[in-house]
Amino acid sequence: MTGGAAHDGPTGTGGAAHDGPAGTGRVARDAAAERAGAKPARTGRGGLQVVWIGLVLVALLAAFSVLAPRAFPTSFNLLNLVSDAAILLLLATGMTFVIITAGIDLSVGGVLVFSAVVAAKVTEATGSAALGAAGALVTGLAWGGLNGVLVALGRIPALIVTLGTLGMSLGGALLLTGGVDLRAPADLNLGLGLARWLGVPLIVWICAAITAALALALAFTRFGRHTYAIGSNAEAARRAGVAVRGHLIKVYGLAGLLAGLAGHLSLAKYGITGVSAHSTDNLQAIAAVVIGGTSLFGGVGTVAGTVIGVFIPVVLQNGFQILGVRPFWQQVVVGAVLVAAVYLDQWRRRARDQ
């Protein structure tokens, strides 16, 4: 599903494959201790970080397959699972970069909606779907860039900046639409929205390709290296000549760009701009990133982990609904299993580190 597996899977075991942040994904067994510069006991085997949480996901898939053999493990259901997770995946991937720099982005849902509105308006005005898509991307990039500038140059805490831009972008989207959802042009909704390739929706391919590319970029390129360095110790990165401010602007810009793309894809997929429908996107994306082993204190994390982190809640919800667990119980059980899954992950890692 993601190219992240290419370097984080067992093939990379032994850490010999790359010099990247060796402890990536080794979340804070005591995050507070870690950030304070105390030397946590961790080894350098960079290749294993997402294995345990990945196993948790596999175990969940297996359990649901056993419990609901005729409904859960069908290609129909699994394809839908993937298709529903695709857009969230984009947001979570951008969020991974942001969180690795020790930042946070609460504005993604608002930027998504704003970009979708721009795409709809532009397409309507010009009749060109390509221009609409471009409009969404540029808009997303602009919001992200604004976040980045305020965080990097204004030195305002990222939480406040993105809370502010969340309000601004959502309010702006409502102003542009008058609070009434805009519809996607039919050829977008019925074109990109429904298109498939090898039986898999085109939107899924797009999201998977971008996620894979970014997973590779984070792990193997200078851009990724600087992302980790800033989250690990921004002052040290600055002294070493990393253009910290510029890089932060790029990272937030990337997150905005992805949110803009997500807005366009969401418009294509759902056919409307969804001005009121994305208020929990930011928390969903952040949760996915953290479940995937990225520390909120920055410096460690992988896109592959995030991919798993996106799927765990989605699979839980789907599985429990198929099993016929009642909705209120679902909330309870999903919450409990989430905590248990991450606990297992932490516990196994600790055991291995002994």
Partner: protein, 302 residues
């Protein structure tokens, strides 16, 4: 107006407090109210919370009261929780007109122009039953539990099915938290679980949108029948695209306009109508182009 607090002029000042800002139903209501206010030459100020939530609506009512308008139209977000702030408003001599929803205290609200969501839910059951031919499994996809208007729709739907549609099997309600993605996931899981699902009642736009997308992806669009609620432009588009087969339309613009009329009457000391019930209309592809149905569709912007 800019000097909103002044009240220097002798124009009547009316405030409309929506149940939820940025929702088509309430925006359409605001449009209706604005048009009527312009016609009558009164100032109208519209406010609304970002969630259908009394803890968010209370501060808004309080600040509106601080601005001392002559009258307030309000869609209370809870029958009980909003009594206290509205009592305070009444004590400041502000004429209160309840629109859409009501509060328990019968002394509040010189006029009540209410929508009957129970009846709307029943209408949805009727419409869905007709679409699926009176038998099969039906599912409800809603936003969040505890939202009174939506809960009433669900209750009306359930009661109606129990009472008069024995052929339908009600498989329960799932909550999408007003997230299209979530609604889509719910629909997928529902299809995986009950491949023979016959119909869906989506209690609001986002639920219908998400569910519709899932049906489309699954190639079941039109095979699994769906009934939506409200009749904004997006919903009507869904109706025309065949995503939903029927819509339950209320009359928000009408409610807004009537509310302003009643408010002005109250301020001027004229006679007000204590209770004005409104109706729900079933809109289908077959009747949507008829002029009398066109009239009840919500307008985009104003």
């Amino acid at each position: 107006g800019g000097e909103g607090s002044g009240g220097g002029g002798d124009r009547i000042r009316v405030a409309l407090v929506q149940g939820l800002a940025g929702e088509e139903f309430y925006e359409t209501m605001a449009c209706g109210a604005r048009a009527k206010a312009k016609e009558l030459g009164v100032d109208l100020d519209v406010q609304g919370p970002q969630k259908f939530d009394p803890t968010l609506q209370t501060p808004i009512v309080n600040s509106v009261v601080a601005g001392a308008p002559d009258a307030m139209l309000i869609a209370p977000t809870d029958v009980k929780a909003m009594i206290a702030p509205l009592t305070q408003a009444k004590q400041q001599n502000i004429k209160i007109i309840l629109v859409d929803t009501v509060v328990e205290d019968p002394t509040i609200g010189l006029s009540r122009i209410s929508t009957d969501n129970l009846k709307g839910g029943a209408a949805a059951a009727e419409a869905l039953s007709e679409q699926v031919g009176g038998k099969g499994k039906v599912l409800v996809i809603s936003t969040d539990p505890g939202v009174s208007t939506v809960d009433a729709r669900i209750k009306g739907f359930e009661d109606e099915i129990k009472a008069s549609h024995p052929g339908l099997t009600y498989v329960g309600v799932q909550y999408s938290h007003n997230d299209v993605g979530e609604a889509s996931r719910i629909m997928n899981a529902a299809l995986a679980k009950d491949a023979d699902l016959a119909g869906v009642f989506a209690t609001n736009l986002n639920s219908a949108t998400g569910a519709g997308t899932a049906l489309q992806q699954a190639g079941k669009l039109g095979k699994v029948k769906m009934v939506g609620f409200d009749a904004g432009p997006a919903q009507v588009k869904q109706l025309k695209d065949g995503v939903v087969q029927a819509l339950i339309a209320q009359l928000p613009a009408d409610i807004g306009a009537k509310g302003v009329e009643q408010a002005v009457a109250a301020v001027k000391g004229q006679e007000v109508t204590p209770s004005i019930p409104t109706d729900a209309t079933i809109v289908t592809a077959a009747n949507v182009d008829r002029p009398e149905v066109q009239k009840v569709l919500y307008k985009a912007g104003c």
